[in-house]
Subunit: 333 residues, 2 copies
Amino acid sequence: MPEPLHDVLNIGNAVVDILAHAEDDLLVGQGLTKGSMRLIDADEAERLYDLMGPAIETSGGCAGNTAAGVASFGGKAAFIGKVAEDQFGKLYKHDMQSIGVHFDTSALKGGAPTARSMILVTPDGERTMNTYLGACQELTVDDIDADTVAASAITYLEGYLWDPPQAKDAFRLAAKIAHEAGRQVSLTLSDSFCVDRFREEFLTLIRDGTIDILLANESEVHALYQTADFDTGIRALQNDCRIAAVTMGEKGAMVVSRNGMEKVSATPVDTVVDTTGAGDLFASGFLFGQARGMPLADSARLGTIAAAEAIGHLGPRPATSLSDLARQSGFDI
Amino acid sequence: MPEPLHDVLNIGNAVVDILAHAEDDLLVGQGLTKGSMRLIDADEAERLYDLMGPAIETSGGCAGNTAAGVASFGGKAAFIGKVAEDQFGKLYKHDMQSIGVHFDTSALKGGAPTARSMILVTPDGERTMNTYLGACQELTVDDIDADTVAASAITYLEGYLWDPPQAKDAFRLAAKIAHEAGRQVSLTLSDSFCVDRFREEFLTLIRDGTIDILLANESEVHALYQTADFDTGIRALQNDCRIAAVTMGEKGAMVVSRNGMEKVSATPVDTVVDTTGAGDLFASGFLFGQARGMPLADSARLGTIAAAEAIGHLGPRPATSLSDLARQSGFDI
């Protein structure tokens, strides 16, 4: 098996984040569930945008954020996702390529615009996402570059890919190519509502060996196994997955494998400014560590370092070099 | 004279800022003058963008930032500027209207895209701007809404309006309408290179009474009067202008009128993150104070409060309520 060209290939929805501060009253008034992601159509996107305050725009999307994190750790990252040929698509591509992420998925011409997520950040730092998928609806198997998949130590897929109609076929094709090349496949469950939409399919992917490494947070574990008891969920994960890493907010993270489980503390954060991207950046550290053959707990520690960085500022991608932060914490990377 | 509907009408280039951190080496390698603004064409915009790191996008532009500052002080602000009918134009309009700024200039159809400024923020917090004017080139006298001008206590114009071919006619028309309605007209010199381009015209505007209130920084005063001696420049200003407010970075600001001059200290800043918008927000505080009939020194103090806020975070517009900050400093607004 040749040395991988990329540590992590990230496949997901290419989304521009539109981030604005909002009071809790707005969420309540609009019936929005704090901390969740909901899908909206173009009309609802217009309506909600009119209610939002002044915003900043920045590249986002689960897998895209994870790619940015891997690059910031000094890893080699690739990305597959669908933007449109418009200003948002251009800035998305720029932000990827300018940090050295390999990204050459063809842009959609003459169809829907680049996806955008209107993210309301409440005073507690929690983010509530409202995503119009736009061009992401058009990701297909044709966008899966087999050479890139085969050349990546880990192919990482976001659960949100189950929403666009043809993306799950792209997902399955990528997983097949990866395994045929002797590589690993990872999935993030993305969001508890996403798990509610696709529970059986996700469980099948996990149990039939399509997924080698599962990323999830507490509420997604609860949703996946429909249990209020976290320990029950974790034991079920241990039975179903080869490797799972579960984030638990300020309580840190739990890594689970057939050999056992281990808890890793959260990296302290002075002020929670904006949790957007925290889970995605945890994934970047964990997967970078796994791609480089680190122990599970060390990989999770890299994840908590990256998550803490994301929480300390507005926006989902690293504002500081993650490799510098890792070295300050004693990692030799 | 009827009560003004708006405290400040801001007329300027409607520009989306593309902000990225950059090392000094990039500026040196590209021959860029730190702290300045240069105009670039579409090709140079592409070339430079390829060299820039990942960015955040946010509404900017001198006069637009000042409008946002006035609104944040609780003032009534209006804006006239030209965007295109594209994604950047839409976000620009959203950001204005969502903070209550009156903005209904028609968007340009089928021409150049919305203006963008690629802003390189070096580790010292200094910003270096590279602006592609795009749709701003098409601002004309037809965009000056006479009712809005006549209903604004102060009409504020940016010196950068001398760059687009027809905007100076729009500027002159607005000034004429304002004075006929018994209102005041203010100008910012914008940038020392802008002063170098249009020195004689700016001096004429100041000396013939078109301008009632001049905003400038130290280097613009040096450029305007072609003197290395600041006191010489200030005395010349006092002779030429009814009111001038000159910002001096960490040394504060100087207010100058026929009756005398007074120095106001800078508001302390813990860390200089990004100076983008500092001058524009100083103007917002100063002009808000003037529109509300405050003394010159108090108006300048509001300016320093706003400038300090802008310097403490990435991006040119207030991230915190300026009226709250002013009240914390003892202002009853």
